[in-house]
């Protein structure tokens, strides 16, 4: 039987200008899931429901075997959460925060925290108000990772970071994620980060789950073709997400790519000139356009 780090079954929530209906999302233990979506897609709402901070109108939510939000206290002992809107106390030092966290979590690993302090190039005795945004993100991650959580939930952790700081954070995270026991839910609208870190991709848009698949097969299922339009070309092609025509040239995007797809295009009257794999960002945009 498959063990899940979290399971959301038929979860619905409604706000005045946003609704999420019947969301089903689950993450097998030890996997890294990238939650992708534009601003307002429902990523943060999903995460807040998972953290017990928002009560869904209906549906069932379980994290690490605990029903949420009822048993969130027990669950949160093994969940590490960091988000882009999370701040630390400005008047206190990072050391004060580490001591505070240590007093709550019996499993807090001081040696690991000291190691992360060096790797993240942070100063324990520095007041939080004096550190940069990038250092603050790293400080939050340190406080979360040193608890050795079984489930790590990161809500847009790289938002607002300069490219160098973002790369540093992503590299450290990639290193940390080598631990097979740790499950991670990573939300971002930055598809490069998701592509680097995730095993699974979940696309959200306007509160709906557009896709949930393992990254490799998902990336392999999308392709873009540049084709010559012939007299015999049909108006539509099976499996095409979009067909853009420009004179005698058509750009066809599919989400059902297989080695036989070229033959399928030829049968539909198109001569394939070029074939490209698509980046997650291109897939993301195509997927959103298709759903709207």
């Amino acid at each position: 039987m498959q063990n899940y780090a979290f399971e959301m079954n038929d979860v619905s929530i409604r706000y005045p200008h946003f609704k999420m209906e019947g969301l089903n999302l689950s993450l097998p233990q030890g996997q890294v899931m990238g939650l992708v979506g534009v601003n307002g897609a429902g990523k943060s709402t999903t995460i807040r429901i998972l953290m017990g901070l928002v009560k869904a109108d209906s549906g069932q939510v379980k994290a690490l075997g605990y029903n949420l939000p009822e048993h969130q206290v027990q669950a949160k002992y093994d969940i590490g959460f960091a988000s882009d809107d999370m701040r630390l106390y400005k008047s206190q030092t990072l050391q004060w925060h580490m001591d505070f966290i240590k007093s709550i979590y019996p499993k807090f690993d001081s040696a690991y925290a000291a190691d992360l302090l060096k790797r993240f190039d942070l100063i324990a005795d520095q007041q939080i108000k004096g550190i940069s945004h990038g250092q603050r993100v790293k400080a939050c991650l340190l406080l979360v990772l040193a608890r050795r959580p079984k489930l790590l939930i990161l809500d847009e952790p790289t938002t607002g970071l300069d490219p160098v700081a973002r790369e540093e954070v992503i590299c450290e995270l990639a290193d940390i994620l080598l631990d097979d026991e740790r499950s991670v839910l990573f939300s971002s609208h930055n598809t490069h980060d998701i592509e680097k870190l995730s095993d699974q991709i979940a696309f959200l848009d306007r509160g709906k789950l557009l896709a949930l698949q393992d990254k490799e097969s998902y990336l392999e299922s999308w392709a873009r073709f540049r084709c010559q339009i012939n007299n015999t070309s049909s108006e539509s092609v099976l499996g095409a997400v979009s067909i853009k025509r420009n004179g005698q040239i058509a750009e066809i995007v599919t989400a059902q790519y297989s080695p036989h797809y070229v033959a399928q295009l030829q049968q539909a009257g198109f001569s394939v000139l070029e074939q490209h794999r698509m980046s997650l960002e291109e897939i993301f945009v195509a997927n959103i356009k298709r759903s709207r």
Partner: protein, 228 residues
């Protein structure tokens, strides 16, 4: 309720955390309070009145700072997600905030009020003024509970400040109102404090109102489903 008892350690940790964050400010206000009590202790009519005005201001400022800094700013400064990521439910977090704010306000409030009463008793100031001092002090405590409740239920700086302004404006009306009551103003210059049915009724009403506000706040907090 069972989970509450299981989580008392975490609630205690959050109360200690709030104390650590606010202790410097409270120490400063206590120092100012001691100076104010000293001014009142000079026992002339002018110094007592000046001291009384300073003390009212100080008690209001301590409460305002406590509610804004520890509750409203926790939302505004975005430290709330950090705390709510810890093993605590939003309901227990709110309870911890309610308790920490009450402790962090009531302890200095009690020390300063007892200090004032000690000055009145130990100097030639008429002891008959004691009921007025107690009633005004308890009014300030009740007003504090009003904006504490507003801060906890809305986390809104605007609403909290609005309630502060209204309750602080009403303090003048309250003082004038009770000073015009013959049962109270006729005993001002008495050598001993005179607690009659009027002053005791007002005191009971203030304390009852304060309790209702606190119980209602705790009840409404438990019913909230959306945090952050």
């Amino acid at each position: 309720m069972t989970t509450l008892f299981k989580n008392t350690n975490m609630i205690k940790r959050l109360i200690i955390k709030d104390w650590e964050l606010m202790k410097k400010g409270i120490a400063g206000y206590m120092a100012a309070g001691i100076v104010t009590i000293g001014i009142m202790g000079m026992a002339t009519e002018i110094t007592f009145n000046v001291g009384a005005i300073l003390m009212i201001t100080l008690l209001i400022v301590i409460g305002a700072r406590s509610a804004v800094e520890s509750i409203v700013n926790e939302k505004k400064d975005q430290t709330m997600p950090f705390i709510l990521s810890l093993p605590i439910s939003p309901q227990h977090y709110a309870l911890a905030k309610l308790l920490s704010n009450l402790v962090l306000y009531i302890v200095p409030w009690l020390i300063l009020v007892l200090g004032m009463l000690a000055v009145i008793i130990s100097t030639p100031i008429y002891n008959g003024v004691i009921p007025l001092v107690v009633l005004v002090s308890v009014y300030i405590l009740a007003a504090y509970c009003c904006y504490l409740a507003t801060a906890l239920l809305t986390y809104s700086e605007g609403f909290t400040i609005a309630v502060m302004i209204v309750t602080n404006l009403l303090i003048n009306a309250f003082i004038i109102g009770i000073m015009r009551m013959p049962e109270i103003n006729q005993t001002f210059k008495a050598a001993t404090a005179s607690w009659n049915s009027t002053s005791l009724t007002i005191l009971a009403a203030e304390l009852g109102f304060t309790c209702v506000i606190l119980v209602l706040t705790a009840y409404l907090q438990q019913r909230k489903t959306n945090f952050l």
